[in-house]
């Protein structure tokens, strides 16, 4: 089977790690070949971001130090791997770009994307050498060269899906057909006019799944520095275990929890074309990792239990809300206008109140906004904010259509003497969220993990 392997920044942090990753490509590539997708070296994207900002406003001296640190890091790696010329050439190009931004004194979204693209391009120049040292014949592409075409929303560009798949299938597929190992820069792409764009959140993973879909790959492997997704945070639940297999829908539900989960948009191409995605650890390659696939593995009722420790709960109440169309819209509108993201919503059919959970640091802003928008017009009577809460989420397709799951859930929590403040469950039945007091959060997670994940026959 064809394999697409994406390597994250930590896995590529220095020359030695790059060689380790190149060996993983060499060991795992089957007769149909493999394509590698690389992120920028750890921390480089942030460094380039700062460089781009600084180039437009500060004098050359500060910018020079940032460039120097980038140069040191990449030249050091190139010293071990080879490819110094290419790295030097790219850095000179970056230098010219920086001068241009400085001359104009303005950083546009478009020029920022051009600067950011150097992270992946530099990493690819180095990883190309690492692959060659393993005896592979790399064919290196930037995202744009590979055929990944996006719209013109710089910073958060969206691929033209069908066109990109067709072109990547042709160009990268041809390289594989010639027995070469394809190497594609993650995160960066180009408009139809050839202007560099970046994919924004989950960018490199997105490149990898798009490439997997384009090539009709057997699997897409996302290599990082963790074994995969866990049934709970092991710092909270010592019995937490690695999830060996979950569905795409479950992976989307889990995306909100933890930095190592995959962004939902990165899962989309794989889910649509039915290509399994495997999360693996470069520092522990023997572990099978987590397989995200179309199938629904039988197993426990719940797959995983998550905790959002720092949440705030707002209750909006008032008799005027009952039977009054548009109250909820005003609540959401008010928060949206202040840029406040709502984590969870709960309203009973009596309509006497709406409960909303927001991030803890946005609680006061949310309360103030709702008070001024609703109380003045008497659309609601009270806006209460509860600072000390946590949200517990139970995820798993095993809950779908199974009676009695709620009883077990609340029973487990009740036995520990924990009070449930608000509940939300979508009709997909893939996840249930509830609000408890902040102090009780960890205990609630342990109780649920024990009852729904660890219990025999789950």
């Amino acid at each position: 089977m064809k394999l697409v392997m994406k390597f994250g920044g930590t896995s590529l942090a220095d020359a030695e790690r790059m060689r380790r990753c190149a060996r993983l490509v060499q060991e795992n590539a089957g007769p149909e070949g493999a394509a590698a997708v690389v992120s920028a070296m750890d921390g480089v994207t942030e460094e380039l971001w700062a460089l781009a900002e600084a180039a437009a406003v500060t004098g050359p001296a500060l910018v020079e130090t940032r460039l120097a640190s980038l140069r040191r890091r990449h030249e050091e790696a190139a010293g071990c791997l080879g490819g110094v010329d290419r790295v030097t050439q790219l850095l000179a190009e970056l230098e010219r770009l920086r001068e241009g931004i400085g001359a104009v004194g303005e950083l546009t979204a478009r020029s920022r994307d051009a600067v950011l693209s150097f992270g992946e391009r530099l990493a690819a120049a180095l990883f190309e050498r690492a692959l060659a040292l393993e005896g592979l014949a790399p064919a290196t592409f930037t995202g744009g060269e590979a055929g990944l075409v996006t719209d013109e929303r710089f910073g958060e560009a969206e691929p033209l899906f069908e066109l990109s798949l067709y072109q990547m299938g042709e160009r990268v597929g041809r390289a594989l057909g010639e027995g070469r190992t394809a190497l594609v820069t993650g995160y960066i792409a180009a408009t139809q006019h050839g202007v560099t764009t970046t994919l924004g959140r989950g960018g490199s993973d997105y490149t990898a799944t798009l490439l997997g879909a384009a090539l009709g790959a057997g699997e897409v492997w996302i290599w990082s520095d963790v074994d995969g997704l866990m049934s709970a945070d092991p710092r909270l639940v010592p019995e937490a275990r690695l999830l060996e297999q979950i569905s795409f829908a479950e992976a989307v539900e889990m995306a909100q929890f933890g930095a190592k989960a995959m962004h939902p948009r990165a899962l989309e191409p794989a889910a649509e074309r039915g290509i399994p995605v495997r999360m693996k650890n470069t520092f522990n390659p023997a572990s099978p990792g987590t397989l995200i696939s179309g199938g629904e593995a039988s197993g426990t009722v719940a797959r995983s239990i998550h905790l959002v420790q720092d949440a705030g709960l707002i209750n909006v109440t008032g008799a005027a809300m009952i039977g009054h169309a548009g109250t909820a819209a005003r609540v959401f509108q008010t928060l949206a206008e202040r840029g406040i993201n709502i984590r969870m919503i709960s309203q009973s059919v009596s309509e006497a109140g709406i409960s909303l959970a927001v991030a803890g640091n946005q609680l006061e802003a949310a309360r103030a906004a709702l008070e001024s928008a609703l109380l003045r017009t008497r659309a609601a009577r009270r806006v209460e904010a509860d600072r000390e809460v946590a949200i517990v989420a139970v995820v798993g397709s095993g809950m779908r259509g199974v009676p009695g799951v709620a009883a077990r859930m609340f029973g487990a929590i009740a036995r520990r003497g924990i009070n449930v403040i608000a509940i939300a469950q979508g009709s997909s039945e893939l996840s249930v969220s509830f609000v408890v007091s902040r102090a009780a959060g960890p205990e609630a997670v342990r109780a649920l993990h024990e009852e729904l994940v660890q219990a025999p026959g789950g």
């Binding site: 033209l160 069908e162 066109l163 067709y166 072109q167 139809q192």
Partner: protein
């Protein structure tokens, strides 16, 4: 509306003449005044912002083998993609011969047209057969039209007919005779008792078959048209690789005779039901798909509304040029009739 024509073979020439001939009627009925401002062929190009004279183009092509020889308007040796991108034409007509094996040149031209905001009328099946969903997406992204009615059935409006049939009902199956050359060969074998080689020779003599008849007799041409029907009418994303294809080289006189004994005939049938296939199949002699000589036929079977069949000539320069004019009128109206 300014038009740039790429490809100046049988279809391109017929189109240049037809636009001239229909000039008054197009203006009277549609308020539409097409101006052929550029023509690109394999060796050169000719441009005139006020419109080119078709007779002069034909004469230059006839005498020198390229429109690039047109005095004071011609350019010899061209970069077609750049000319398309730089042209101020609103519509590009892609009328070069179909090559399924290497559609990349035509694809590059279509992409250049789209990214510079030009509508496309395409009668080259190659790019559509391999990258239909991608091209449609790119046209939408640039808010321009992509029309291709001349790719299936030549001048017979097969795509429009099938599209109309699907309104208000679902298609259960499409069955069609989409290649005139193979239909002619099978028809001769059945009627005259000839073998495959003899019938092919006759088709070549009459000018139905190309010098290299493989795209026809191996079923590839019919398959490309089936792919266009599936994408263009049913919105089912697919490409040539999704079609199971068999040609007619293996069809023997014995098979044809045996079928006849049972009141059946052998036809190269393109079929879309659950999957996509092209291959020689036996059908009843009284089937509406049993069309003679080089005719084409398309039968649409609906979930409600029964079966409908359209029969017509499937190729020819003037016929295909007529389809292009229909597409141009559509583009014109889709634009709200603005130049």
């Amino acid at each position: 509306m300014k038009i740039l024509l790429v490809g100046f073979g049988v279809v391109g020439k017929a189109l240049a003449l037809l636009l001239e001939e229909q000039r008054a009627a197009l203006y009277a009925r549609h308020g539409f005044s097409p101006a052929l401002v550029g023509v690109i062929d394999s060796r050169g190009a000719a441009f005139d912002a006020d419109g080119l004279d078709p007779e002069a183009l034909l004469a230059a092509k006839e005498r020198h083998g390229t429109v690039g020889a047109l005095p004071s308007r011609g350019l010899e040796g061209v970069q077609d993609v750049e000319l398309i991108a730089q042209s101020d034409a609103q519509v590009v007509i892609e009328a070069t011969p179909t090559s399924v094996a290497c559609p990349n040149a035509a694809l590059s031209r279509l992409k250049a047209a789209f990214r510079t905001g030009k509508h496309v009328v395409c009668v080259n099946k190659g790019p559509l057969a391999v990258a239909f969903p991608a091209l449609l997406e790119l046209a939408r992204h640039n808010r321009v039209e992509l029309r291709f009615s001349g790719t299936v059935g030549g001048g017979t409006p097969m795509l429009a007919f099938a599209t109309e049939c699907t309104r208000g009902s679902k298609v259960r199956a499409l069955r069609a005779v989409l290649n005139g050359t193979t239909n002619f060969i099978l028809w001769r074998m059945e009627r005259e008792g000839e073998g495959f080689e003899a019938a092919l020779a006759e088709a070549t003599r009459l000018g139905y078959a190309e010098r290299d008849p493989s795209a026809d007799v191996d079923g590839v041409d019919a398959a490309t048209k089936l792919v266009i029907l599936a994408n263009g009418v049913l919105g089912r994303p697919c490409s040539l690789a999704d079609v199971s294809i068999a040609g007619i080289r293996e069809v023997s006189r014995e098979w044809i005779d045996r079928a006849r004994g049972q009141g059946r005939v052998v036809k190269l049938i393109a079929e879309l039901e659950r999957g996509l296939s092209v291959g020689p199949r036996e059908i009843p002699a009284d089937s509406p798909l049993n069309v003679p000589a080089s005719l084409n036929a398309l039968c649409v079977e609906l979930e409600s509304g029964g079966e409908m069949t359209l029969v017509g000539r499937g190729a020819g320069g003037p016929e295909t040029a007529t389809a292009i004019v229909r597409d141009l009128i559509d583009v014109w109206h889709a634009q709200g009739g603005r130049a």
